[in-house]
């Protein structure tokens, strides 16, 4: 394993070297970097040309400049060096601070899009595989094809132009007529009926249940003014926590007599987690990232411990499910706190909370949760725009891989042993179906970063995409190289992680 990682690191280093050299040469030779200055008239012309020549080392040939750039990069790797600049841009300013300012917003965007696309894509892919050739399957296929064919800039513009404005207007005055609620509830009922599927009796039943639940939920939310002052409260966290406990247990252990201890453990975790959240509420009022991470870890550990103590014979399973329930409670807590910050943000942003330009409000000066909610509000639309394509490919890929696994002999064996459907799907099929997906996610990361360039242009973010496209327009190699450095390192790293994960998930593969 270590030998494998070491060898991969060496190979990756040379690949990075080659790809940066290639891109540096391409950018440098793409045009004359002094083009705009040569057209200048006036006394400052010569001085400006001299300054830029100095900043970009234009008096040495391009390969030498690449060497100098490599030296600048090397300084950043050298921990005792305080001159980490990643080179100068054409105005003589160091690139590294610009990259630092840009990388946060872009990473937020890319990670949010990847995670969301992955979760939604895998779930949809599995459901379509289980309901192969159903109406739901065909609809998802159609949607996936549409997503493949949609240019990112088109979706972004549409979201910005239509969804954002409508949503903001509605959030300013969140009311729905009964007809409106009915329409939403019919759509939701139809969605659930298609997704759950089943025979003649089950489909209308599911539709009715979905319709009634949605109608009641929306009515309650509107009546309690949720869209103006949203929050879960202790009660909400408790109820959703219990629901998560039952749900995860049903999915991973099943609700049978034999697995009663697992259920007990996860319910106990949900209760204990809620108590912990209440007890810690003074700390959580304005925490930092570390505190939130710490609380999450504490909740997961509590869940795992409770599972181990109460799990009886199924200790290992119970502690895994308990940990998951603990994580769900932590997530609920975070969402609750973010929602509580909404009225403040709403007031500060003049009643237009969904943002279409920029990546964060300037001079917000608010507490932790409001700041993060502000980030999220800016993230919504661009994330939606870039995740669509990855969502489509993850869905199709998961579906194909799941169908492939479901036809394998070991799945038939599992069924022949008399295992129930849930166990076969979750334990035997699902895990193995996910293995090929690791490679796809690693490769897709570069694609999402590319999509980020387009979305950042449309939504006016000043992220790495902006750094990149201004750099190209100005024939300014160093900012462009900063972009390439980050993306190439990320891609190489992700590919290596995918290979390691692959070997870990599929023991037939040996590394080295």
């Amino acid at each position: 394993m270590l030998v494998f990682i070491a060898r991969r690191l060496v190979v990756s280093f040379f690949i990075l070297l080659a790809s940066t050299a290639l891109t540096y040469l391409l950018v440098s030779y793409s045009d004359n970097p002094l083009k705009d200055l040569l057209e200048l008239r006036g006394p400052t012309r010569e001085a400006k040309i001299a300054a830029r020549t100095l900043a970009l080392n234009l008096d040495s040939p391009v390969p030498v400049r690449y060497g100098l750039w490599l030296g600048d990069v090397g300084k950043c790797l050298w921990p005792w060096s305080d001159s980490c600049t990643l080179g100068l841009n054409r105005d003589g300013k160091p690139v590294f601070p610009q990259l630092q300012a840009a990388i946060g917003s872009t990473l937020r965007l890319v990670i949010a899009a990847t995670l969301l696309a992955l979760i939604l894509g895998v779930v949809t892919g599995i459901v379509t595989a289980l309901r192969q050739y159903s109406v739901f399957d065909y609809s998802v296929t159609l949607v996936a094809f549409l997503c493949f064919s949609l240019p990112v800039f088109f979706v972004s513009t549409l979201l910005k132009q239509y969804l954002a404005i409508e949503l903001n207007t509605w959030l300013g005055d969140p009311t729905l007529t009964y007809a409106g609620i009915t329409i939403v509830a019919v759509l939701s009922g139809g969605f659930w009926a298609l997704m759950v599927g089943g025979g003649r009796q089950r489909v209308p039943l599911v539709f009715a249940a979905g319709f009634a639940a949605t109608f009641a939920t929306i009515y309650l939310l509107l009546a309690t003014g949720f869209f103006r002052t949203p929050y879960f409260g202790v009660l909400g966290i408790g109820i959703f926590g219990l629901a998560a406990a039952v749900g995860w247990t049903a999915l991973f252990a099943g609700l049978t007599r034999r697995t009663r201890p697992v259920l007990m453990a996860s319910v106990a975790t949900a209760v204990a987690g809620t108590v912990v959240v209440v007890a810690l509420s003074p700390v959580l009022d304005d925490p930092g990232y570390l505190v939130v991470a710490g609380v999450t870890v504490v909740l997961v550990v509590i869940g795992a411990l409770v599972g181990r103590l109460l799990g009886g014979e199924q200790r290992a399973l119970a502690s895994r499910v308990g940990g998951l329930v603990g994580f769900s409670v932590a997530l609920l807590m975070i969402v609750d706190q973010l929602l509580r910050a909404y009225p403040t943000l709403f007031a500060r942003t003049g009643g237009r909370p969904v943002k279409t330009t920029g990546s964060q409000s300037a001079n917000l000066g608010a507490d932790f949760w409001t700041t993060n909610l502000d980030y999220l509000m800016y993230l919504i639309l661009p994330t939606l725009a870039i995740m669509l394509i990855s969502f489509a490919s993850y869905t199709r890929y998961t579906r194909a891989s799941m169908l492939d696994v479901m036809g394998q002999d070991y799945v038939r064996t599992a069924r022949a042993k008399g295992l129930n459907n849930r166990t076969v799907i979750v334990r035997h099929a699902f895990r193995n179906a996910l293995i090929p997906l690791t490679t796809l996610v690693a490769f897709d990361f570069a694609g999402i970063l590319g999509g980020a360039i387009i979305t950042e242009t449309v939504f006016g973010w000043s992220g790495m995409g902006k750094l990149f496209s201004t750099g190209i327009t100005n024939v300014d190699p160093n900012p462009v190289m900063a972009f390439f450095l980050v993306t190439a390192t990320a891609t190489v790293l992700f590919n290596m992680l995918a290979d390691i994960a692959y070997a870990y998930l599929d023991p037939r593969i040996r590394l080295g």
Binding site: I15, L16, L26, S30, A392, R396, D404, L449, G450, T487
Partner: protein
């Protein structure tokens, strides 16, 4: 009943096309006493049918694929309209306006004159752009450019990807090492970024150059696939047989292995073309691809995005055509995939 049981086992489906379904086999041996395997492909339920070539079978499966045929029809209609309406090269155009004529003033505020019922095109069916050019002619011109670029990209990347993948997969050794490391290097860079760098310089230099250069950058995916196919095919008996009778390497590659990978390559080429449409439009949108005074669908979207509030159709027409073209090509590619490999799950992406 368990809803998963009957359909979720793909290995049972599709065996009817190429393998021998057990039922038919039993029927055959019961009805006709055949003791050789030679006839069993031609005998179905007691009637003798003529043997069909692989290509015919593929074609028949493709024609039966409804979505793919619909895609093909839409695609042909669009291409024919784009190239005949304003004319291209020697093809005369039937549309009265030119995309180069700047009208001194906008007719009726540049409004679109297209009427669906009763159908009439009017003078400017898609309206006029801000400088008074006929928007229908402009969109058609943009479509021509985008399609030409996409086809060029498809051709160049398919040829390159096939050759590189074939060489790497057939010769193994250092050839493979060098070519695959080259692929790795290209894969680390987001395609749109490297394309932007390369194309920015030559964008004004004509679309042919643009298409060729984009093709040079997009062969990596196909090269990996073709290499994989070659790696498994070169170990097969028919290749060994060819080698044992003294066939040269080029002959084995072109006559024996390549025909077996034609399905994968065709599908990949189709998808490369739809990918190229999206890539070119995205680049032109960012301002790195086709540049004014020439035009393309992406550039039209970019220029007219500002008019979204006053005259949204200026944005919608080119954007919708991008989506429709790409969707149609994707459906054709899906149909081809199913036609070439009926055992594979439908529309696997």
């Amino acid at each position: 009943m368990d809803p998963l049981e009957p359909e979720a086992v793909p290995s049972q489906r599709g065996t009817g096309e190429q393998g021998h379904p057990p039922a038919t086999e039993r029927q055959m041996t019961g009805m006709i006493a055949l003791d050789t395997d030679v006839a069993d492909a031609a005998v179905t339920a007691g009637t003798v049918t003529a043997a069909q070539s692989e290509l015919r079978l593929v074609l028949r499966r493709f024609v039966r694929h409804r979505a793919a045929m619909a895609g093909l029809v839409v695609l042909v209609l669009i291409v024919v309209t784009a190239f005949t309406s304003i004319g291209w090269g020697l093809i005369p155009g039937w549309w009265k306006q030119s995309y180069l004529t700047f009208a001194p003033s906008l007719t009726d505020g540049g409004r679109a004159t297209l009427r669906l019922w009763p159908f009439s095109l009017g003078d400017h069916p898609f309206g006029q752009d801000t400088s008074g050019r006929d928007y229908f002619a402009l969109v058609m011109r943009g479509m021509q450019q985008s399609i030409i670029i996409a086809v060029l990209v498809g051709l160049v990347s398919t040829v390159l990807g096939t050759v590189i993948g074939a060489l790497a997969g057939y010769y193994r050794g250092w050839v493979e090492a060098v070519l695959m490391r080259l692929t790795d290097v290209l894969i680390t860079i987001p395609l749109i970024a490297v394309a932007a760098v390369v194309v920015n310089r030559i964008g004004g230099g004509g679309i042919l150059l643009l298409g060729v250069f984009l093709g040079i950058l997009t062969w990596t995916g196909l090269a990996r696939i073709v290499r994989g196919e070659f790696l498994s095919l070169r170990e097969r008996e028919f290749v060994e047989a060819a080698r044992s009778i003294g066939a040269s390497s080029p002959r084995i590659i072109f006559r024996h292995i390549l025909p077996n990978t034609i399905g994968v390559i065709t599908v990949s080429a189709t998808l490369a073309i739809s990918g190229a449409i999206l890539l070119e439009t995205a680049l032109s949108f960012l301002g790195f691809g086709v540049k004014a005074p020439d035009t393309s669908l992406g550039l039209l979207v970019q220029i007219n995005r500002q008019a979204m509030d006053s005259r949204p159709y200026l944005f919608w027409w080119p954007a919708v055509f991008i989506v429709v073209i790409s969707l149609a090509i994707n459906f054709v590619g899906d149909g081809l995939r199913d036609a070439f490999d009926p055992r594979q799950t439908r529309s696997k992406a």
